[in-house]
C-alpha cells in the first residue's frame, strides 16, 4: 500500500517543479546523444517509409505512366475505381480471403492454444511444429501447396476426389484459403499462448474453488482476460489478410477469381504503368484498413 501512495506523490512532485527549472543538464545531454544515435534510423524511416507514403497520396491525384510527366487529374482515379469491375472484384477477392482464411485460422489457433497451454511432455515440440510454417516463406509454402493441390496431388488423393483446385473459379479461392489457414494458424497460436501464460494461475484456482467447471472458467475467466490479446490478433489478422500477395501469385497468378487487391495494385502499377491509379487503390486500402481497425477496436472495447 505504501508503494501505491508514494508513486503518485512522486509524480505530483515532478509536475510541481517550478517552470523554467527544466531537466538537469546531464539529462539533456544524454537525450541529445540519444537523438544523434537515433537520427540515422529516423532518416532511413523517413526516406523509405514516410516519404513514399506521402508520395503515394500525392500520386493518387495524378495520371502518371512513369515515362512522361505526371498530369493532375484530381479525384478522377478514385471515380474510375468505384466503377471498375476489376477493382471491385479484387476487393471482393481480398474480403473473401480475409474472412475465409483468418476466421478459421484465429479460431483454430485459440482452440489449439488452449489445448497446448498445459505442462506435458513434448508440448514444446508440438508448438514448434505449428510454428514451422510461419517461419517458412510464403513462396516456399505456396510451391509446396501447388504440389498438394494439383489434380493428382495429395489432397485429391486423400479425399479421393477429382477437384481442379487451382484451375476453377469455384475452387481456387478455397484452395488458397486452405493453404493460408495451414500457414497462419501457428502465428496466432504463439500470440494466444503468450496471452494465456500471462493469466494468473490463482484466478483459475479461485474460480475452481468456487465450483466453476472448466467451461465456466474458460468463459468467465480465461476469455475475458484474453480479450486484449484477441483484439491485437483480430486487427493483425485483417491487416495480414489484406496484405496477401504471394500465395495468389504463385498458386494461380491471380486467375480464377483470386486477384486480390495487392496483386491488382502490382499489375496496375508495373504491368500497365498506371502509377496514379495504383496509388489511388493504395490510398483507398489505407483508409479502409484504418476504418476497419478503428471499428474493431471500438467494438471490442465496448464489449469489454
Amino acid at each position: 500500500m505504501a508503494l501505491t501512495r508514494t508513486a503518485p506523490d512522486r509524480a505530483r512532485g515532478a509536475r510541481a517543479r517550478p517552470p523554467g527549472s527544466g531537466r538537469p543538464g546531464w539529462r539533456r545531454r544524454r537525450d541529445a546523444v540519444g537523438l544523434v544515435f537515433a537520427l540515422p534510423a529516423l532518416a532511413l524511416f523517413a526516406a523509405f517509409a514516410i516519404y513514399p507514403m506521402l508520395r503515394v497520396f500525392q500520386l493518387s491525384l495524378y495520371d502518371y505512366n512513369l515515362t512522361s510527366a505526371p498530369v493532375w487529374v484530381g479525384l478522377d482515379n478514385f471515380r474510375f475505381l468505384f466503377g471498375d469491375e476489376r477493382f471491385l472484384a479484387s476487393l471482393g477477392a481480398s474480403l473473401f480471403y480475409v474472412v475465409v482464411t483468418y476466421g478459421p485460422a484465429v479460431l483454430l489457433a485459440l482452440v489449439l492454444a488452449l489445448g497446448l497451454n498445459t505442462r506435458m511432455r513434448g508440448s514444446a515440440f508440438v508448438r514448434l511444429l505449428y510454428f514451422a510454417p510461419v517461419a517458412t516463406s510464403w513462396v516456399a509454402v505456396s510451391v509446396i501447396w501447388r504440389l498438394v493441390l494439383q489434380p493428382e496431388g495429395l489432397l485429391n488423393q486423400t479425399l479421393n476426389t477429382d477437384i481442379p483446385w487451382l484451375t476453377s473459379s469455384t475452387w481456387a479461392k478455397w484452395a488458397i484459403a486452405i493453404a493460408a489457414v495451414w500457414k497462419e494458424v501457428g502465428f496466432f497460436l504463439i500470440i494466444f499462448l503468450a496471452g494465456l501464460q500471462n493469466i494468473p494461475k490463482d484466478l483459475q484456482e479461485a474460480a475452481a474453488l468456487d465450483g466453476a467447471g472448466s467451461l465456466r472458467r474458460l468463459r468467465y475467466v480465461t476469455l475475458p482476460l484474453l480479450k486484449p490479446i484477441t483484439v491485437v490478433v483480430l486487427v493483425m489478422a485483417v491487416i495480414r489478410g489484406f496484405q496477401s500477395f504471394s500465395p495468389q501469385v504463385v498458386l494461380t497468378g491471380g486467375s480464377f477469381g483470386t486477384e486480390v487487391i495487392n496483386l491488382f495494385v502490382y499489375k496496375t502499377a508495373f504491368a500497365s504503368a498506371r502509377m496514379g491509379r495504383a496509388s489511388a487503390v493504395a490510398v483507398l486500402m489505407f483508409v479502409l484498413l484504418l476504418v476497419v481497425t478503428f471499428v474493431q477496436l471500438r467494438a471490442l472495447r465496448r464489449s469489454a
Binding site: 481442379p164 484451375t167 497468378g253 486467375s255 504491368a271 504503368a273
Partner: protein, 431 residues
Amino acid sequence: MSVRARARAVLIPAAAVLAVAAACGSDGGSTGGGDTIELTYWTHTHPPMTELNEQLIAEYEEANPNVDITYETIPNNDFGTKMLTSLSNGSGPDIINMDDSALRGEYIPKELLAPIDPAAFGVESAEELEALYVDGTLDGAKGDDGTLYGVPSEFNATAFAINTQHFADAGLDPASPPETWDDVSEYGQQLVAAGHEGFNFVYLHSGWYTQQLQTLLNETGGSILNEDGTGSALTEPESVEALQIWHDLIREDQVGNADTASREATSPFEDFASGRRSMTMIYPWAVEQIAQDNPDTFENLAVVPLPQVDPANPSGRWYGYYFAVNKASEQQEEAWKFIEYMTSQHERWLTDVNFVQPLQGWEQSEAAANIPFLDVWSQAYQQGKFDEVGPHWSEVQDAIKAAVERSVFDGQPPAESLEEASESVDQSVSS
C-alpha cells in the same frame, strides 16, 4: 565515465570507421583505367538461347577486351513487367531482346528505345539495313512513323507438331496430318482413346493466351480491336468463332485436359516433349528445346502445316524478338556494335538454337539446309502477320486470358465470356 566522455568514446571511433569506409568506397567504384565499356544485356529465359548468348558474349569480349558485358536472364513470367519498369525509370539494361508486341505496344510509343544506328551495321540508312531482311520482317520493331528500333534475334512463324509414334499407336497415318481444326478434334479423340493427350493449347501467362487466340482469330477473320483500335471487336461473330474452336476442342471434344496442363513457363512445350501430348502448335525455336529435353520425342517429331479453318485460304501468325537499345543508355554506339556482332552470327543462331534471323536468302543458306522441316517453315513464313497491339495492351491481354479461362476451364459459353472481356477491353483502350 561522464555522459560526454561516453559519447566521445562511441562517436569518435564511429566517425573514424565511416571515414575509412567512405575512402574505401570511393576507390572501389573505379572500373580500372576508365577505358572499360560496361554493357548490360537482358533476355527472357530459354535455356538453349541462354547458352548461345553466353558463348557469343565470351567471344565478343575476347575480341574486344575493353568491353565487359553483364548478361542477365529474367524469369519469363516477370520479364515484361521487370523490363518495362526498369526502362521507364531509367535503370534498365543497355541492350534488350524483347517481343514485337511489347515493343510496338509499350516501348516504342513510350519512347523508351533508341532508333537504330545504321553505321554500326555498315550501312548508310535504316532503309539500306531493311533491304537486307525479308520484306516486312522488321515491321515488328517499327513505330507508327516508320522509325526502326531493332533487328530480329528470332523471327517466328506458327506450325503444328505431331508425335508420329502416337499417331501409329492410334492407327493414324503421320503422312496425313490434320488439315483443319475439325481434323484435330477427330484425330485428337482417337489419340485420347489410344492413351495419349490428343491436343492442347499452352496455358502460361497472358501473352501466351493472347497469341494462341490471335492465331485462331487470324484464321476466322476476327480481331481483338476494331479497325481504328478504339474499342473491342471480341463480340464479333468471327472473334467468337475463334474462342469457340478452343472451347469445343477442350471442353466438348475433350482432346486434352486443361487442368493437368504443365504451367512451366521456361519449358512451354513440356507436355509434348515429355511424350504425354500428341499434337501442339509450335514455333521454330521450340524444336531445339524438344530435342534437348527429350531426344526420344524429338525422334518421333514431325512438323506439319498449321491446321486451318479454311485450308483454301491459309493464314498464320508471325512474331519476333528484336535486339534493341535503351534510349537512356550512355553506351548506345557500343550497344549497337554488339548487336551487329550478334546478328552477324545468324547461321549459328539457326544451327544451334533454330532461331531464324530473316535475312534475304536465309532459306538458301548452308545452315538452313540442315534445319528439319524447312519446307514447312518456309511455307509458314509466307502466310503470317504480326499480332494486333493497342494502348494498355497488358490489360487487354489480361482480359483475354480471363475470357479463355472462364470459357475453357469454367465452361462459360464463349460468346458470354467474350462479352465480359469486351467491356474490359473497351475500358482499357479508352482510359
